[in-house]
């Protein structure tokens, strides 16, 4: 019965604190039938659609190559591009702030909201604000941040956290969504209609009516940005529902929190990114709406505009020669949709706002691998390479994972924590160093072999290895023994 199974439902605020590390979380998620059904259906649907729209373009590989080079070029001169962006945006009437870490980004955001004596802000989905825990920090100060993407609304009203970049409520089915709307909408605004059914059209309508009030009444909007153009100071937000346009157009004040890696050198670079992003993410030729704006336009949209440029670990990733390429990521989620591991365990198991293959490399790059969460992530992969192939900016995720596994091992060695593998390797090295020791060991193994054939699980720390594998049968006679008995005698 699905309802009695343990589920992974991290709560917002404590974000992913208290979540088990990937290995354990994956086991819990694998037992959640509902989640696996939703995920399987969703990832396969998007995967097939994506294949079709990508297949339409003969120049897809050229676009990928160009997109990767554009992002590399951005990163190689990032300091210059950031200053150029700041100057252009400032000249266009925006105020540009710099946040070295999450705390600083939150402080700056709070300062802006307080200066306007606002109690409510509306938000269009933004990974950066999720990463810094903006909503939770606002809540502590009595400021209510309203998420306006349909899925984010479902997640927020349901009191849990997103599990996918693009379909954040992928873990909820329509009946659950209906119940959440009926139970929760009324206490925070316009209630759901009494006769609400679980038809998607009716659910979307309920969200439209509920959020329309917020769009019309709230004077401060928060967003992220998919791209920031250094040359012109322009910000770009891609979306589907129109809630982005609402948040970017109707408020008096707009605050956009932008990771420093979101820059593109020139406006014309969008000719590549505006092709690869929609096809890779929602698997459409183009997403329904994109807004591009530069500072303040008199008589059109917010008349006060802030940009918060966010580091928060990005320069740490930037300094990593292999890992730097992860900063090319345009958050399309193609790698999630093709990943056999993500498909089975879902987003929550990764314990971060960045799940899936990209999350598995990005989190350790942003924070290091000293924490057990981050240290487990490089292993959340079978290294099948599907993510690399799907990535529109050609991030070689498997290579970065291998590099990070090495880092985890080094980190463990430095911290002096022994593990079963390193103990086993030390014993093996000692045994192999002398052929007499090796022969003695083989003889012993051959004799215990028939017994070992019945061993299904190794004890203790080695149990993890045998949990998914059978022990190979050990031959009764070693090669050395056989040689002595046959060819050796013939001489």
């Amino acid at each position: 019965m699905a309802s009695t199974q343990p589920k992974l439902q991290p709560k917002p605020g404590v974000a992913f604190l208290g979540m088990p590390a990937f290995t354990e979380a994956a086991h819990i998620a694998l037992g959640d039938d509902q989640l696996r059904r939703n995920l399987g259906r969703a990832t396969h649907t998007i995967r097939d659609k994506r294949k079709r729209v990508v297949g339409e373009l003969d120049d897809w590989q050229d676009l990928r190559t160009a997109a990767a080079a554009i992002k590399d070029r951005t990163l190689a001169d990032l300091d210059r591009h950031l200053e150029q962006f700041e100057a252009a945006a400032t000249a266009a009437g925006a105020t540009v702030h710099w946040a070295a870490d999450a705390d600083e980004a939150v402080r700056i955001s709070l300062e802006i909201v307080r200066a306007h004596r606002a109690t409510d802000v509306i938000k269009v989905k933004s990974m950066a604000t999720q990463e810094v825990g903006l909503n939770e920090a606002f809540a502590e100060q009595g400021i209510r941040a309203w998420e306006t993407d349909l899925a984010e609304l479902i997640v927020q009203l349901g009191g849990d956290t997103p599990s996918h970049f693009l379909v954040p409520a992928i873990h909820r089915n329509r009946e659950e969504i209906r119940q959440i709307f009926i139970d929760e909408m009324g206490s925070v605004g316009r209630p759901a209609p009494d006769d609400l059914t679980d038809e998607p059209r009716r659910l979307a309508e309920a969200a439209r009516l509920h959020l329309r009030e917020k769009f019309l009444d709230t004077s401060i909007g928060f967003s992220g940005a998919n791209f920031a153009i250094a040359e012109t100071g322009t910000l770009v937000v891609l979306e589907s529902e129109g809630n982005g346009r609402m948040c970017l157009t109707l408020p008096d004040v707009l605050v956009s929190m932008v990771g420093i890696e979101k820059l593109l050198p020139t406006f014309s670079d969008l000719e590549v990114l505006m092709q690869v992003l929609p096809r890779s993410s929602t698997a459409e030729r183009m997403n329904p709406y994109t807004t591009m704006w530069t500072g303040v336009t008199e008589g059109d949209g917010p008349q006060e505009m802030h940009v918060i440029l966010l580091d928060n670990g990005r320069t740490r990733a930037l300094a990593d020669n292999t890992g730097r390429q992860a900063l090319r990521c345009i958050r399309c989620s193609a790698c999630l949709n093709v990943c056999p591991v993500y498909e089975r365990v879902g987003g929550h198991a990764y314990g971060s706002v960045y799940p899936g293959p990209i999350g598995a490399i990005l989190n350790p790059l942003l924070h290091g691998v000293s924490d057990e969460h981050d240290a487990a992530l490089p292993y959340a992969s079978s290294l099948c390479g599907a993510c690399f192939e799907a990535c529109p900016v050609k991030i070689d995720i498997p290579s970065v994972l291998i590099e990070q596994r090495a880092e985890v091992v080094e980190e463990r060695a430095e911290s002096g924590r022994p593990n079963a593998e390193s103990l086993a390797m030390r014993v093996a090295a000692w045994t192999f160093a002398d052929h007499r020791r090796l022969e003695r060991a083989q003889k012993l193994a051959g004799k215990t072999g028939p017994v070992a054939r019945h061993v299904r699980r190794l004890p203790g720390l080695l149990g993890g290895w045998t949990a998914s594998r059978d022990l190979p049968p050990i031959p009764q006679e070693s090669f050395h023994e056989w040689w002595r008995r046959t060819r050796g005698e013939q001489r």
Binding site: N38, D58, D62, L63, A66, A69, R73, A76, D77, E83, T95, V96, W98, A99, A100, I108, E111, I112, R114, H116, D120, L150, V167, A169, N173, P200, A204, A207, R212, K214, F215, T218, S219, T232, T234, S240, E241, G242, R245, M246, T249, D252, F267, E271, V272, R285, M286, P288, Y289, T291, M292, T294, T297, G299, D300, G301, H306, L309, T315, A319
Partner: protein, 221 residues
């Protein structure tokens, strides 16, 4: 909730630690060289005007928007018919809209002005605008706040958007569109009506943006 006009206690100047972030960036990339960008991708489709219009209309239609390819002389009549068929009782129009487009319109017409609030727009059922560029390959319309387009709010809040696209403004590809656009203008790219796939991946047209998009491609001199 009642809306006050974002009172402000003080001017908010730049905050945070720019030098710290820039120093960290510089330290991280000191030995990194910028690669050349190979731009071997397609820039134009090599189609003539008629084929571009065809492709554009097909691709817009794929998004389940309504498309009409019409002669310039028909614009006024078709606008009137579309609004009547859809029972749109009121429309907002940019103040520079050609009055000739409204000759057969029986809906209440509101010319946009600065004192029309978002709440006022929410009471209006439709909007008529022009556009800056059309992209055939992706079925995309771009508005840039220029001629006959008005401010962004008018093409956002009402539920039916009737958008006129000049045949000459249709290009084949995204690179061609970018080359025609001015980044410093507020740009809105529209590809079909508002949509979501957030509920079990069923596509639902219409969440917050206009749920109905009607595109008139106008040909002829």
């Amino acid at each position: 909730m009642s809306r006050d006009a974002a009172p402000r206690d003080r001017i908010i100047g730049p905050m945070g630690n720019k030098e710290q972030v820039l120093a960290a960036v510089r330290g991280a990339i000191k030995d990194v060289a910028a690669p050349e960008i190979p731009r071997g991708y397609t820039r134009d489709l090599g189609l003539d005007r008629a084929a571009l219009i065809d492709l554009f209309a097909t691709r817009v239609d794929d998004y389940r928007a309504e498309v009409h390819v019409i002669d310039r002389a028909e614009v006024g009549r078709v606008i009137g018919n579309v609004l009547a068929d859809r029972r749109v009782r009121s429309v907002v129009v940019p103040d520079d809209l050609d009055p000739g487009w409204l000759t057969t319109v029986t809906s209440q017409v509101v010319r946009d002005s600065a004192d029309l609030s978002a709440r006022d727009l929410d009471q209006i059922e439709g909007v008529i605008t022009g556009s800056a560029v059309g992209i055939a390959l992706t079925g995309t319309i771009v508005l840039d706040g220029g001629r006959i387009q008005g401010r962004r709010a008018i093409s956002l809040v009402p539920d039916t958007h009737l958008c006129v696209v000049e045949a000459d403004a249709i290009v084949g590809t995204v690179p061609e569109a970018i080359a025609r656009l001015d980044a410093t203008r507020p740009l809105t790219w529209i590809s079909g009506p508002s949509a979501t796939s957030d509920i079990e991946l069923d596509r639902v047209e219409g969440v917050h943006g206009p749920r109905n998009l009607v595109v008139l491609v106008v040909t002829g001199p």
